[in-house]
Amino acid sequence: MYRNWKSLKAIVLFTLIFSLVLAGCQSNNNNAASPESSGPASTAGSASSTNAAAEDKTLTISWPKDIGPLNPHQYTPNEFFAQGMYYEPLIDYGEGGKLVPKLAESWDISEDGKTYTFHLRQDVKFTDGSVFDANVVQKNFDTILANRDMHSWLGVIAQIDKTEVVDANTFKITLKNQYYPALQEFAVVRPLRFLGAAGFPDDGNTAETIKSPITTGQWVLSEYKKDEVAVFTRNDNYWGTKPKINKLVVKVIPDPEARVLALEKGDIDLIYGEGTISLDAFVNLRDSGKFETSVSDALASRALIVNTTKGPFADQNVRLALQHAVNKQALVDGVTNGVEKLADTIIASNFPYANVGLKAYDYNVETAKSLLDQAGWMLPDGKTFREKDGKQLQIELVYMGDDEVEKPMATAIQSDLKQIGIDLKLTGLERQLRNKRMEAADSDLLFWSTYGAPYDPHNFVSTNYEPGYGIYESQQGLSMAKELHQQMKDVLLTTDETERQKLYTSIFKTLHEQAVYLPISYLTSIAVYPKYVTGLKFPAHRDETPFDTLDIQK
């Protein structure tokens, strides 16, 4: 009897614990459903004033990470895409790098190229009803410049000498030196976008936090549950063309395969971005015929940095042999299923100043072999790898170990180089360790990608001439390194358009002829969506989103 009682007690206890746990899950549900979650959501009530009778067009997308606190002046954990779609710049970056007026209606540049006067749009209001004017622009610039060190990667920030409110709708920026990419850099997503005055913390410094995400943009954050979901409602008081959809739901789905399953299930209406799903999954979805798929133009370049300072690549002929030996078409087709596009030059010709008519290196194993012969690396009878002065031709390629494209590409390059007698050693490293190797220029070849639009080509050249990132260091083996880097510095300071193009042409020509990069492919964005989603148009700006043109027609 006693024993039975004991076992009954155990069963009751077990059931009780189990129910408590389940109850715990249930209460979680209550939290999730509550709109009163912590974070920026609670601040954006005005957005939900959408006309209830209006047609409900909700687009649900997934994103690998939480959108972050929507602070326009800070970096991680703020997601680029969210800051980009939420806040607006003075100038927008359009097709082919054309600069388009946004919050600034027009601008004048002084003759000495140092003073920029922006004429602000007069019909713009923030989502809290406050007016967008030169004072609020000043307030934003004040906090950005107070954290100047943090933003020092952006050339224009380092160049700003002073800012000035001329009148309510005119804002003036004076630079220390001439700096031609200034206008282009006003289009970047962070930190040069504008927060409403009421969104600033009391001390006016947004380095740590903001009070609420008040914007002039097309969307307002109306619901937010950190790490789970963010809901954006259309800003019906928006000054420009309003989006066709009236609600955008962003679900956080960290796993790429789960994102694909969510699309198949109908939980989400769009997969968008770079690397958001595996390229195999993209092809499967495309071939299934159930979804529309599209691929953007070139957004940035994937390349190998060739270290000219040491080992076999100190010899130009060996670098040229590399250009001819790698079958890039096979890499693009085989590894990326044609999603990335073959790259013949380090900066794609659709970028400003980059269409300079360079002749592509063809894939030709025989040319590669003869170049190695000329360099003195000969293939001894019966051996697989070439030798010179008794030393085997061995080089190292560093890639990011967990990158689903770099790894198979590295393996394919290894087999390409084996064909011409080069022993390629592959080293897969975690991102941060790989960065460390890059900074130290401690590799023969290293996978790298450019920053893309709207940062290039000017950001590309500054990464080349500034020491510390490993690229400048890798180019020290060039006999003309000094002149090349001087040209790179000069091109950013020149205000004469013809002179600027001339310098860029010379820079791109030298980099190409000296084979200091092996351009492989151009990175693209992909989109997969059901047929009822229409109007998808990829923005030219790498970090912007296509939500303003999308429509739902069920």
Binding site: N28, N29, T76, M150, D255, E257, A258, L261, K265, G468
Partner: protein, 317 residues
């Protein structure tokens, strides 16, 4: 009273273990060759200028000597303050509080589910040793031990969520969201526990007291459930105690696939970001969970078999 002093002794031994874990994790992190300031800039996709690195280093408190950093952290720990995340800029404590309940619920439900299924399964296979039912259970155990978690998870999602629409796909909003991930986690445990229990039961059936019980006229089922099970369940309890910590730390894949905002994904990301405060606090908390899991297992053992505490006492004198 004996149990009481036993518990106290065990709790006291936790202190040096946790202190050691705190120091080792703190030291190892700082021995890694990557600077968190550079990691922050790299993740933010901005070029690491010297000015920016210095600005971030001082912002993150990395510009003070090692021992000062450690002392600051210990002092914070004494006040139950885990510091501020380098990346989210939120307090690590609040980040944990948002995520720990999800991981804890997932771990506990999986563990309970595993026990609830494996005990009857173990009994059935012991009773039907070498009969078809035992073979079926063995086959299931092999499956559980060999199927990769991520594969099982995708299969469950594909058939039960995408195709049948019985369960939601992503999130942690209600108990329905926990069914598939808990089952995924429990599946391999069921395999281990049911085999452990079967072995224990079969061994127990050979004991002399079983012979006497039979002589008293008890049936096999009664002997098994009332006498042998008590002994046979002990290895399972030990394994479950050890698994509790493992479940807390091993939910990464499942959380990622099922889009559950738990501790796993957060920790993984923090490792890639070199988010020191999160990593060292996570290791500390998980060390605590491991120690607590073992303590709970030992206490249950002691409850099942009070001789254990007596032995400990003798051994202690």
């Amino acid at each position: 009273m004996k149990l009481y002093s036993y518990v106290w002794k065990r709790i006291l031994t936790m202190v040096p273990v946790l202190l050691g874990a705190s120091f080792v994790s703190f030291l190892l992190l700082r021995l890694t060759p990557v600077d968190p300031a550079k990691a922050y800039l790299s993740v933010s996709n901005i070029r690491p200028t010297e000015e920016a690195i210095q600005a971030i280093r001082s912002q993150l408190g990395l510009d003070v000597p090692f021992w000062t950093q450690y002392a600051n952290w210990l002092w914070q720990l004494c006040r139950f303050d885990f510091g501020t995340s380098f990346f989210s800029k939120l307090s690590v404590g609040s980040e944990f509080m948002n995520r720990l309940p999800i991981t804890a619920a997932l771990a506990l439900v999986s563990l309970l589910l595993a026990i609830a299924v494996s005990v009857p399964l173990g009994i059935v296979s012991a009773l039907g040793k070498n009969r078809p039912i035992d073979h079926i259970c063995r086959f299931l155990a092999f499956l559980g031990a060999s199927l990769p978690q991520f594969w099982l998870a995708y299969m469950l999602i594909y058939f039960l969520s995408v195709k049948m629409d019985w369960f939601p796909l992503q999130g942690a909003e209600s108990w329905r969201y926990y069914v598939l991930p808990s089952f995924t986690l429990a599946f391999s445990l069921i395999a281990t526990y049911s085999r452990l229990l079967r072995a224990g039961l079969l061994e127990g059936l050979e004991e002399p007291f079983v012979l006497y019980a039979r002589a008293r006229g008890l049936g096999t089922y009664a002997i098994l459930t009332k006498h042998v099970l008590r002994h046979a369940v002990r290895p399972v309890v030990t394994a479950a105690g050890m698994n509790l910590g493992k479940l807390f730390t091993g939910t990464v894949i499942v959380e990622q696939i099922f889009g559950m905002p738990g501790m796993g994904g957060f920790f993984l990301e923090s490792v890639f970001h070199r988010d020191y405060p999160v990593i060292q606090s996570y290791i500390f908390v998980m060390a605590f969970v491991f120690v607590l899991g073992n303590l709970a297992a030992d206490l249950i053992q002691a409850w099942i078999d009070p001789r254990l505490t007596r032995f400990e006492e003798k051994g202690g004198k």
